[in-house]
Amino acid sequence: MTKKSPETVARKKRRRFNREAIAAYLFIAPTMLGLFMFYIFPAIASFALSFTRWNGISTPEFVGLENLIKLFTDSSFLRSIINTAVFTFVSVPFTVIIAILIAVMLNQKIKGIVFYRTLYFLPVVTMPVAVGMVWKWLYNTDYGLINYVLGMLHLPQPSWLFDPKISLLSVIIVYIWMSVGNNIILILAGLQGIEKSYYEAAEIDGASRFRKFFSITLPLLTPTIFFVFITGMISSLQVFDLLFVMIGNSTALLEPLRTIVYGVYESGFKYGEMGIASAQAFILFVAILLMTIIQFIFQKKWVYYDS
């Protein structure tokens, strides 16, 4: 390449920057416009409703901070915050760690591995209704399979869904069972991005399987782990469907299992109080946003993008 004068290079750089920006905007335009129209704009409208009383049909009535005050003095809502937090802080780490271990094992090209991979994928494909039904039966205090087996081993047989101390844990177990498969797929995909040459070099140096895992696999997997962690956190903070299926018509079971999104559903669609429903969703949104931003700031410390 012929040498260019500093001014030419600088001019080219500025122009290239503009060209780059325009191209970038074009690339993201369809998605951003679509997201704005169907997700962001409705969300903003909804959050504005947090400051009103609205039954979904007549004109909303502005009430200022009344909804927020009502919520923060409501024991049910505060309980839902605690439940949601516990749910997330327990399920996410487990889901991620278990998924990593299993994905690494499933990453081999041995015979019959397809069968095992499909096996772990089964919970992901099973309909939530069926999942709820089956686990309710498994957890049944008198007839359930789990207690039957425990009984045979002469171990205590708890009331999995009834005992307020452990019912949340019982549902968390089902959630982890359901979600692990998703993460396994993502991590499997992520494992493929790690250049084989790294492993070859390590082999030459005589590294053990253990060493290879911790020094090569794990660090280079961190972008994927980061993704799995963030999306896992965001979804488990919004858990609702599973609870809906497992609680059934029993209000007595509800309190120890109530999450924030359940509250949104109840206020909005059962009681017709859209303002309060939006307020709860808004509070949740702010919490998730803050947590996510913090995660993104921290990623510089542990996520390693290969370049």
């Binding site: 369809p30 099973t126 069926a130 999306t231 919004q238």
Partner: protein, 253 residues
């Protein structure tokens, strides 16, 4: 792992009376294979299949295209407002679906899309999750490849098309699998945005077996099994692409 799925199958083969027994029986006393044909008689199940396939294909293809384009920009290009737009996009994930249901219904009514495929497919081709997922993977692809292409005079689109996409088979497959699954099983959105039976999808169709006072469990499970098998086949077929290596054709460190 497999117990719930087996339970679905055994329940689908029982008679209604037997499915209600406590303690529950494990294997059906009488095998009612006709439950499966009953599903097709009770409702227009074939139509539901077709509708669901159209919905799924539409959304998946749309997402793979749109999300990869946007993800490329976020991963590889620099532009003003990049971080703000990225966070804005991510924030979409933080809003529960129930909250945007009514505003979207109003929008779709204005557009005249209620009860059409447009309502089912179009909003579903825009995905913050998909964009985020691909962005992470794209960021893991060595930048040297981009540089090499640029030196050869490649446009941005060229880099996208010739370098990034071919090296992202695992990520695109993963996104494909998830989008197919999510679209296939989507319940709340099709439930609210369509009315006619001719527009119904599988998830909604199956839920009609759940009545107000009682649920026809065997039929419900038969429908669920019929709905799940295509997904399993899809996974078995696609999973090897998850493991495709980086195809570089000649570039080595």
């Amino acid at each position: 792992m497999i117990v719930p799925f087996l339970w679905m199958i055994t329940t689908s083969l029982k008679s209604y009376g037997e499915s209600m027994q406590v303690p529950p029986t494990i294997l059906p006393k009488e095998w009612r294979i006709e439950n499966y044909s009953n599903v097709f008689e009770a409702v227009d199940f074939l139509k539901y299949y077709i509708n669901t396939i159209i919905l799924t294909l539409g959304r998946t293809i749309g997402q793979l295209i749109l999300c990869s384009l946007a993800a490329f920009a976020f991963a590889r290009l620099n532009f003003p407002g990049k971080n703000v737009l990225f966070i804005l996009m991510l924030s979409v994930l933080m809003v529960p679906a129930q909250v945007i249901l009514i505003p979207n219904y109003a929008t779709l009514t204005q557009l005249g899309w209620i009860d059409t495929f447009a309502a089912l497919i179009v909003p579903g081709i825009f995905s913050a999750y998909g964009t985020f997922l691909l962005r992470q993977f794209f960021m893991g692809i060595p930048k040297e490849l981009d540089e090499a292409a640029k030196i050869d005079g490649c446009s941005y689109f060229g880099i996208y098309w010739r370098i990034i996409l071919p090296n992202s088979t695992p990520a695109l497959t993963a996104l494909g699998i998830f989008t197919i699954l999510a679209a296939w099983n989507d319940f709340l959105w099709p439930l609210v945005m369509t009315n006619s039976e001719s527009m119904r999808v599988l998830s909604v169709g199956i839920s009609t077996f759940s009545g107000q006072y009682s649920t026809d469990y065997p039929l419900l499970m038969a429908g669920a099994v019929l709905s799940t098998i295509p997904m399993l086949l899809m996974f078995i077929f696609l999973q090897k692409h998850l493991l495709a290596g980086i195809a570089l054709g000649g570039v080595r460190r």
